[in-house]
């Protein structure tokens, strides 16, 4: 087997709460292959968002290694880290909180192109139009303010921004959780389409096993900062082995439980 795109080993993050140490993430290890989707699922406080932030190096772990594209991601700093970050992008639940709400769509997409020196000033409008088109948005959306467009459009802009730097991995933290179901399906389709054409891998964090089942190849179920079980997403959901996996599956709403005619 080739080197995984991302290999996380022994990842640990402790917080101090009320004078005692609490392990938000406790000795977590996983790997993601190129073009693969690994979902992290678990209840609130299970550590899934902390793992996302650790992988992105938005926060630093207390222990553990992160190998990304064959190199030690934790040892990078300065220009080398900035360059590598182009390959590792992120989309969060609420793009309104992630973006400057007064910025225009064009500005949000211009930033990564400029910062990573991916296109000249004259070339950038054309690249922005192409990015908008790639995520299914009309290019005349570019001058609009971020707060003026719909939630689904904003999440498409967030995805356009993420793919602007040609990443090999995108961390999606509850990226479709706040969307209406009809819009959610379109965004999941877009993510699958981008993965098929660009071979992007996803670390997909969600509390919703129905969504996980629709998009993920593999699934790791977390509880209290640990991975309790992992495997093929559909197999884990069909026959969970861990207590928390069983509880998550049992708690997922079903259309057929109460509706026999």
């Amino acid at each position: 087997m080739s080197t995984p795109l991302l290999a996380v080993s022994g990842l640990t993050k402790r917080y101090r709460r009320g004078g005692k140490a609490v392990s938000a993430v406790n000795d977590v290890s996983f790997a993601i292959e190129p073009g693969e989707t690994l979902a992290l699922a678990g209840p609130s406080g299970s550590g899934k968002s902390t793992i996302a932030r650790l992988v992105l190096r938005l926060i630093e772990p207390d222990a553990g290694t992160i190998q990304f594209e064959g190199g030690d991601f934790r040892s990078l700093g300065g220009a080398a880290l900035r360059a590598k970050r182009a390959r590792l992008q992120m989309v969060f639940q609420d793009p309104l909180a992630a973006f400057n709400p007064r910025a225009t769509v064009a500005r949000v997409l211009d930033d990564p192109l400029r910062i990573h020196d991916l296109a000249s000033r004259t070339e950038r409008p054309r690249r922005i139009a192409a990015l908008l088109e790639r995520v299914g948005l009309a290019s005349d959306l570019a001058p609009r303010a971020i707060h003026e467009i719909s939630g689904g459009q904003r999440q498409r802009v967030a995805i356009a921004r993420a793919i602007a730097t040609n990443p090999s991995l995108i961390v999606l933290d509850e990226a479709v959780s706040a969307l209406d179901v009809s819009v959610r399906g379109q965004i999941l389709d877009l993510l699958l389409d981008l993965q098929a054409t660009e071979r992007i891998a996803y670390l997909f964090i969600s509390h919703d096993l129905g969504v996980v089942r629709a998009i993920a190849h593999r699934l790791a179920i977390l509880d209290a900062g640990r991975i309790d079980e992992s495997g093929d997403a559909r197999a884990v959901i069909a026959a969970p082995q861990s207590a928390i996996g069983k509880a998550l599956v049992a708690a997922t709403p079903r259309l057929d439980r109460n509706t026999a005619l």
Binding site: L192, H207, L261
Partner: protein
């Protein structure tokens, strides 16, 4: 079945920048006493506006037309009221669907022909644009009181609770205000309520402040306060949407139990059709401020009449449905 309240041709519009934005348009529906009715819809469907209108919580600037008519006898039923043991009359429900689907004015339902003629109140609550003023003008007539006759649970429990008051006191205040209980009895009532919503260690929870509780525990406290005065109607507006799946299932099960124990009527507002289907006996589907269809849960899920309802069902990502999309092979 007897209607707890009848909504007739209700329209609500909000004013913004000199423009009227319609939020609800010509909605008519009956909420049966003792039923669990779900209102489902996406953003902008008007589902929360409907809940606010029923609770009398619309902002003063809202433009309101139509009536919400309450059954006084149902509201005044004693606490020992037991829920009807029979399921809602489906043929009656079908009649309603028919009249709604064609967008005609609400049919006159023959509820009065049953034995309890008096159940339908002659005291219609005429909604005026100025909600607060309207309530005052109607003082001589009967107006259901939020907190006493209606319990309301919102999505974000932190926004419903006072952050600097112990939760026991917050619940006791409701008991004091609406049940006229004195201090010690109000606190005893609060403690009983915390036991009923199954908070671990209710004694300690009495003294806890909201920030010391988890999201699910806070929502249990809000539910305890909402049911403190023994309301006939419990409105839960996206009450579990901010909670994780496991806690959501626990809160839904808590609501189901409390509604059954107290014989309350439940209005459950949700964007999640599967969650609604697990809890409700009937489902009303809203879109763009209009009621598209209303039926028993089985009818809505298994035989939806409206294309939009079918689209919502198709968009549901379940654990037991077939593969909805092709996931490409990795690498």
């Amino acid at each position: 079945m007897t209607a707890l309240l009848s909504i007739r041709d209700l329209s609500v519009a909000y004013r913004g920048n000199g423009v009227e934005v319609p939020a609800l348009q010509g909605v008519s529906l009956e909420i049966e006493a003792g039923e669990r009715l779900a209102i489902i819809g996406e953003s902008g469907s008007g589902k929360s506006t409907l809940a606010l209108a029923i609770a009398g919580l619309l902002p003063g600037a809202a433009l309101v037309r139509g009536t919400i008519e309450w059954s006084v006898s149902q509201l005044q039923t004693s606490r020992s009221f037991t829920p009807p043991s029979v399921l809602p009359d489906i043929s009656l429900a079908r009649g309603e669907i028919g009249s709604f689907a064609v967008g005609s004015p609400p049919a006159t339902l023959e509820i009065g022909e049953s034995s309890d003629d008096s159940a339908i109140s002659p005291l219609a609550r005429e909604m005026s644009g100025r909600t607060e003023g309207g309530v005052k003008e109607l003082q001589p007539k009967f107006v259901p009181l939020l907190g006493r006759d209606i319990g309301f649970v919102f999505q974000d429990p932190s926004a419903s609770l006072d952050p600097v008051m112990a939760v026991g006191k917050q619940i006791a205040e409701v008991a004091h205000t609406h049940l006229n209980l004195g201090g010690p009895r109000a606190y005893a009532k609060a403690r009983t309520l915390l036991e009923r919503v199954r908070l671990p260690d209710p004694g300690a929870a009495m003294r806890a402040y909201p920030h010391q509780l988890s999201g699910g525990q806070k929502q249990r406290v809000v539910i305890a306060a909402a049911i403190a005065a023994g309301p006939r109607l419990l409105i839960a507006d996206e009450a579990t949407s901010a909670l994780d799946t496991i806690v959501q299932a626990e809160i839904v099960s808590l609501i189901r139990r409390l509604v059954a124990e107290d014989g309350m009527t439940l209005l459950f507002i949700s964007h999640d059709i599967a969650l609604a289907a697990e809890l409700a006996e009937r489902i009303a589907v809203f879109r763009h401020g209009k009621l598209l269809e209303l039926g028993t849960t089985a009818e809505i899920v298994n035989a939806p009449r409206h294309a939009y309802t079918r689209a919502l069902l198709d968009a549901h990502l379940g654990l037991d449905t077939g593969p909805l999309r092709r996931i490409g092979a990795p690498a």
